[in-house]
Every structure is written in structure tokens, then in C-alpha cells.
Assembly symmetry: C2
Homo-oligomer: 131 residues x 2
DNA sequence: CGGCATCCTCGGGGATACTG
DNA sequence: CAGTATCCCCGAGGATGCCG
């Protein structure tokens, strides 16, 4: 290969390799961030999470919790009473995400209004040129 | 409201309000992080981005670039020659994301192997209990 | 209470072809 | 070169119902 040396550029950025994407793959599901947020305060029961997060269904709550558990970010403790009590809490690995998440929130606090301005300006200029 | 004070819990975590989610909504599209990564080195042409990112189609490249532009994170400079030259670069707002992204990468570097271990352990224990 | 099983919809995103 | 325009498919995720 490359018998002719036109200096062909090889891909050097890949979804499965890029560190950015690997973390986002973990925390960017629709409800993941919300659940982590709910768990920040400490140990909390299944039902309580559902009540605190607006609009989440039991299906997605369970599914997202399972994923987080599988990734080792949260712990699931079952008290086998009737009815059962199931409480979730962040694992040490999960807690290591908190500083990261706080900076996400901080960025939003200081920059999100600029994003909204940019969107408004962009949409306006686009609608103008189509008139 | 709350005529009866059973201390009914109100949702206090919302997709549209949570700072975590607002940032993730911006940077968590499939190709967004990769493109930001490609732009970190500085001004770069459309075609070059496509060549550097493995597996991206022209459609998704254009579409993701448009979103980033709309959000004010990147700038698009056109030199109207034939053929045209279009170069993209991070805006100041986009550059403000870089420290955040670096920490995402750093977290992956130090913790991702633990996530993989947790996944393997979880999958193993699940397959065990179904035998 | 804390799930799991189903069904269904909607849109993200891939493949391909055309264009100024 | 730097895009549009179409068609199409698959899977995330919502709604609903049943269960130990």
C-alpha cells in the first residue's frame, strides 16, 4: 500500500478510542445524569428516585439503574422484606465522577446563556436569508 | 395545595433544568466530541476533519458541524473560490469547553479500565445465576 | 414495592446519489 | 471541495399491563 506517496491522511480519531467519547458513552444516556444527580445526596430508594425525577418511567428508571450498576458506578442493596426495600448509592467509582459532573454544571451556569444567544442569532440569520 | 400533609415528594430534578443535562445535550451527540477533538489543534478544513475521523459520513459531518455552529461553539469561514475552501475553528465559547473535555479524557484514562472490569464481573455473575 | 415483559413510535443516523 | 437530497433501518425510549 501507499506505493504512491501522496501523503494520504489516515484516520486518527475513533469513537472507540477517543477518551472523550468513552466517558460520554457512559454518562450521556437520557436519564443517567439525572439519576447520578439524585444519588449525590446519598443512599436513596428506588421509588424516591422516580418521584424526584420529572417524567421518568419505571422502565427507564430500572434500565438506567441497571446500566449504571453494570458499569460499577452505583451499588444496589436489597432488604428482602415484604414488600422489599431496594436502595441505591454511588460506588467509589461513581463518586469519582462527581467532580466532573460539577464542572459540567458549572460550565452550564456560566456559558449556557451564550449558547442560547448563539442559537437565537443563528436561527434569525437563517430565516433572514430565506426571505 | 398539600391540604393533607403526607409530605408528598415533588419532582425537583428535570431534564431541561439540570445543569448536567444541559451540557450533555450539547456535547453528547455521537460525533460531536470527535469533531471538537479534531478542532483542538486549530483551524482545519471540512475534508480534513472527515479524513481524520474514522467512519463518519459527509452527512453526519455536515449536520454535526451545523449544530456546533448554531450553538456558537465553532466558527465557519468560507473562501469563495472554485472549488470553495471552508475552514472550521473553535470559537472562544467552544474553547471554553476544552478544559472540561480534557477532564473527561483524564477520567477515562484513570478509571475506564475499572468500568470494563465491573462490566465483565456483572455479566459473569448474571450468566452464573441463569445456569 | 420494585420490578419485568410487550408493543409501538419516532427520529438518529447510515448508504447512496446528485450539485454549484 | 463541500456540501444537499432521499430513502431506509434500527434501536432508544414511551405506554401499558402483569408479577413476587
Amino acid at each position: 500500500m501507499s506505493a504512491h506517496s501522496k501523503k494520504s491522511i489516515q484516520p486518527d480519531i475513533s469513537l472507540t478510542v477517543c477518551g472523550y467519547s468513552k466517558v460520554l458513552e457512559i454518562i450521556s444516556n437520557k436519564w443517567t445524569a439525572l439519576i447520578i444527580y439524585a444519588l449525590e445526596d446519598g443512599r436513596i430508594r428506588y421509588g424516591e428516585i422516580g418521584k424526584r425525577i420529572e417524567g421518568i418511567s419505571k422502565k427507564m428508571l430500572t434500565q438506567t439503574l441497571r446500566q449504571l450498576e453494570r458499569d460499577g458506578l452505583i451499588r444496589r442493596d436489597v432488604t428482602p422484606s415484604i414488600p422489599p426495600i431496594v436502595a441505591y448509592s454511588l460506588s467509589p467509582l461513581g463518586e469519582s465522577l462527581i467532580p466532573l459532573m460539577l464542572e459540567l454544571k458549572q460550565w452550564a451556569k456560566t456559558h449556557y446563556s451564550l449558547v442560547e444567544q448563539a442559537r437565537a442569532a443563528y436561527d434569525h440569520s437563517v430565516s433572514q436569508e430565506h426571505s
